[in-house]
């Protein structure tokens, strides 16, 4: 049973560019959330997708956007990259939207470096 898979694992972008990160949830899960983890910090919630719609959003600017596909996979897009966007981006999946009692599984993340 594959867990949460993310791609790419590492990438380097230049300031002002755009990046797309991809996530496949754990088998059977229908909810995908994205988190940003800066070096030495805890993960911060970006947004959550359920039934192909953004359901919840953390305190992140509109430069951060996403998408969920019918097969529940998801993409995170970041436009106009800033140096401060350098971080580990984590995808998390769970079953059902809004019930935090379900276990949330994290992928191994995508390391983004902005230069």
């Amino acid at each position: 049973d594959a867990g949460v898979t993310q791609s790419p694992t590492h990438l380097i972008k230049t300031r002002g560019q755009q990046v797309t990160l991809r996530c496949s949830p754990k088998s059977g899960h229908d909810t995908v959330s994205w988190y940003q983890q800066a070096l030495g910090q805890g993960p911060q919630f970006i947004f959550q997708y359920y039934e192909e719609e953004e359901r919840q959003r953390g305190n992140f600017p509109d430069r951060f956007s996403g998408h969920q596909f019918p097969n529940y996979s998801s993409e995170l897009n970041v436009n106009a990259l800033l140096l401060g966007d350098s971080a580990l981006y984590l995808c998390a999946s769970s079953l059902g939207q809004g019930y935090s009692g379900n276990t949330i599984y994290f992928g191994e993340g995508s390391w983004l470096t902005v230069v």
């Binding site: 805890g42 993960p43 919630f45 919840q56 809004g98 019930y99 935090s100 009692g101 994290f106 191994e108």
Partner: protein, 114 residues
């Protein structure tokens, strides 16, 4: 505004000892409190979680103690082993569609000395 405060930032414990990590939260609407373990280069993995209707939950060597009135909860790792060396995060969220997903503490870097 940091809604979950975690301490200590780093912790060194001898093999076989008890590791204790503490967290305090501000939002009384939180009602789900998980602990995650993260190894370098890996994503966080759920260790153990508690709901506020119980004061303690134990799974193997890991125990969560929860004090609702003080808005505090802690992780105890009994008989700590070198393989437990990792970064530990406490987190909190709300059942039923909490707006902020999981809110994490800043993490505790735990080193178990052999």
């Amino acid at each position: 505004q940091q809604q979950v405060k975690q301490s200590p930032q780093s912790l060194i414990v001898q093999k076989g000892g008890i590791s204790i990590i503490n967290c305090a939260y501000e939002n009384t609407a939180f009602d789900y409190f998980p602990w995650y373990q993260q190894f370098p280069g890996k994503g966080p993995a759920l260790l153990i979680a508690i709901r506020p209707d119980v004061s303690e939950k134990k799974e193997g060597r890991f125990t969560i103690s929860f004090n609702k009135s003080a808005k505090q909860f802690s992780l105890h790792i009994m008989d700590s082993q070198p393989g437990d060396s990792a970064t530990y995060f406490c987190a909190a969220s709300m059942v039923g569609g909490g707006a902020d997903g999981l809110t994490f503490g800043k993490g505790t870097h735990l080193i178990i000395q052999p």
